[in-house]
């Protein structure tokens, strides 16, 4: 990745350096493996939040079904891991050895056809990207080509999340049902459960996250990023400037789906199971909360949103389970009513100016161009 003043402006560069320092150095040095693994779990949502910045913040398309893509990615990964954990030796005691345990419990006697290709890791990795991507492409094409957007789109994505959850829970012989796919053990023979594996997986995830940040930032800086902003404001003007608005929306939605799916796959690896409770309406809407709290217009803000809200959730729901839902609800209302640009908006309004002033007074005033527009420009 090229880090120069063209790719990141100064405040973004600060954001990048701070995030990289925290994730690569500070957290791994200061946390034990258990806590680090928790952070890894939070970061899986950061992928989703990152996608929502592109799709919702920039494109203005609110998807309440990101759990679907998170789930599809996660289940693809989990299917591979589950198959590897269900080797004939491991499952000797079953009436049909060699198939996942939940299939055996549901009187299924041979591996279903759609499970077969998940023996291959290459196929699995492709599927993690392509299955959610294609699914988003189908939904997006059907909806955006017919000019369905806004609240209608939100409701329909929510319905899709509901449908997929009911389907996964209902078809437990094929999906593991409400319990999901548990007892995932090895990746190509490499045990993912011990501490050192968790640390390695954490770093793999952080590297992937930064790759995705790079992609998102690249998209933001191209003309496509500006078209997304333009589209959110004046859809007709974009259309009458010769662009197919639907195609750009489909692209943003698909990117968000793929990011979410990568997050889901990392979830299955880091946390060691996948279940429908990460697919449905409630988790999908919580993923929107992370983005809203962090700042829907800010790539780094959304990632902090995912980390901080989840951190608050873990610590509050442990000590004050009753307060947590109140807090979450109130946080949501407060963010929407008072801080539509979330944490990054607060940062840009209150912290950044002070830093700028510090820089300005230190540097010679001559080269100060007074043109530092903070990121997260105000949006209604």
């Amino acid at each position: 990745m090229i880090i120069n003043s063209r790719f990141f402006n100064r405040s973004e560069l600060t954001g990048f350096v701070v995030l990289a320092a925290v994730l690569f150095v500070i957290l791994p040095l200061s946390l034990d493996v258990f806590r680090l693994n928790l952070v890894a779990k939070y970061l899986t949502y950061a992928f989703v939040a990152l996608g929502l910045v592109l799709c919702w913040g920039y494109g203005g398309i609110l998807s309440l079904g990101q759990g679907v893509f998170f789930g599809l990615g996660g289940y693809c990964m989990a299917m591979f891991l589950k198959l590897e954990a269900s080797s004939v030796e491991n499952t000797k005691i079953q009436s049909t050895p060699g198939i996942p345990d939940f299939m055996d419990w549901n009187q299924i006697t041979s591996l279903p056809l759609f499970w077969q290709p998940f023996h291959s890791l290459t196929f699995t990795i492709l599927a993690i990207i392509l299955v959610p991507g294609l699914f988003a492409l189908i939904i997006g094409t059907a909806m955006f080509k017919r000019r369905v957007g806004g609240t209608y789109f939100a409701i329909i994505t929510q319905a899709v999340a509901a449908i997929l959850t009911i389907l996964i829970v209902g078809q437990q012989g094929y999906t593991g049902g409400i319990n999901g796919m548990t007892d995932l053990r090895t990746l190509k023979g490499w045990d993912i459960r011990p501490d050192h594996a968790k640390v390695i997986l954490y770093f793999v995830e952080v590297v992937l996250l930064f790759a995705c940040i790079g992609i998102a930032q690249f998209i933001r800086l191209t003309k496509l990023g500006r078209i997304l902003v333009a589209m959110r404001e004046q859809e007709d003007r974009v259309r009458f400037s010769g662009y197919s608005v639907a195609n750009f929306k489909i692209f943003a939605f698909c990117m968000a789906a793929v990011f979410a799916a990568i997050g889901g796959a990392m979830f299955a690896l880091n946390v060691g199971f996948m279940s429908p409770s990460f697919v449905g309406i409630v988790p999908s809407i919580e993923m929107v909360i992370y983005t809203a709290v962090g700042g829907r217009m800010s790539i780094f803000g959304a990632i902090w949103g995912a980390i901080l809200v989840n951190f608050a959730k873990t610590s509050l729901s442990e000590s004050f389970p009753q307060l947590w839902l109140f807090g979450l609800g109130a946080l949501f209302i407060a963010v929407v009513l008072a801080f539509p640009n979330g944490l990054s908006g607060l940062w840009a309004d209150y912290v950044q100016p002070r830093i700028d002033r510090l820089f300005a007074s230190r540097k010679a005033k001559a080269d100060w161009n007074g043109n530092s527009v903070a990121d997260g420009a105000p949006a209604e």
Partner: protein, 251 residues
């Protein structure tokens, strides 16, 4: 006088165009023809269907029946962005510019290159783009505002910016919906000057209420009333048409 011509010789041939909203015919069996390099002004009382005609040509509204041929291509079957790509540009009545983008970015988006998803990902802000943007910015009196966000512009400046965005598309047919509405007197004069400069080498279809302005620029005037043509011809002819005086100019 139009009877002998084949529609193909016209830049734009509208024939039998009808659109109905829940039974109400906003445009009713309308036919008219625009030649190359012609400046045509559409006038008419409120609710005559003027804006709807522009909506129909640029594809914003779908026709119930009839045909719109542009350089021999049927526009009624095309999508908005395809119509733009064949060379039809449209300015809306209220200025619609991208307020969260700078003047430069607004103009750059309208530059006719890299309009597909992939094309816009690989779009480079190279010298021809910069030159063209600056050239147009100078024409629309916004050269020193290239890095200003559009939400900081005045109403008139936004109108100019939108005209500039159309110019950079370089359309063969330019459609303007009340380009001087809501402008101050000095802005109005500047706009007239601007329009007189940009209407060269292209056909223009203008909706306007300002009669002085119409007289200044129109080659030919079409008067619409209740979705149909009431009168058509030179300004002189239309002004003296008793039907026009009765429903429109007389007021």
């Amino acid at each position: 006088m139009l009877v002998g011509h084949q529609p193909k010789e016209f830049l734009l041939a509208v024939s039998g165009l009808t659109v109905s909203f829940d039974g109400f015919k906003a445009v009713n069996d309308l036919s008219f023809y625009v030649e190359e390099n012609e400046i045509r002004v559409i006038i008419g009382p409120n609710g005559a269907g003027k804006t709807t005609v522009l909506d129909l040509i640029c594809g914003k509204t779908k026709a119930t029946s009839g045909s719109i041929q542009f350089r021999g291509k049927e526009l009624t079957k095309m999508k908005e962005n395809e119509i733009v790509q064949t060379g039809v540009g449209r300015k809306f009545q209220t200025p619609s510019v991208f307020e969260d983008l700078t003047v430069f970015e607004n103009l750059e988006i309208s530059f006719p290159r890299g309009r597909s998803v992939f094309g816009s990902l690989t779009f480079q802000r190279d010298q021809p783009v910069k030159d063209r943007v600056e050239e147009v910015a100078e024409m629309i009196f916004l050269k020193d505002k290239l890095n200003t966000y559009a939400d900081e512009l005045s109403h008139g400046q936004k109108q100019w910016l939108e005209i500039g965005m159309l110019l950079i598309q370089d359309p063969d047919l330019l459609m303007l919906d009340e380009p001087v509405a809501g402008m101050s007197v000095s802005e109005r004069a500047k706009t007239a000057e601007l329009l007189n400069r940009i209407i060269k080498n292209r056909s223009v279809l203008v909706i306007e209420h300002d009669m002085k302005f119409v007289e200044d620029i129109a080659h030919k005037v079409t008067v619409l009333h209740q979705g149909q043509i009431l009168s058509e011809g030179t300004m002189e002819k239309v002004k003296n048409d008793p039907k026009v005086i009765e429903v429109y100019l007389g007021h």
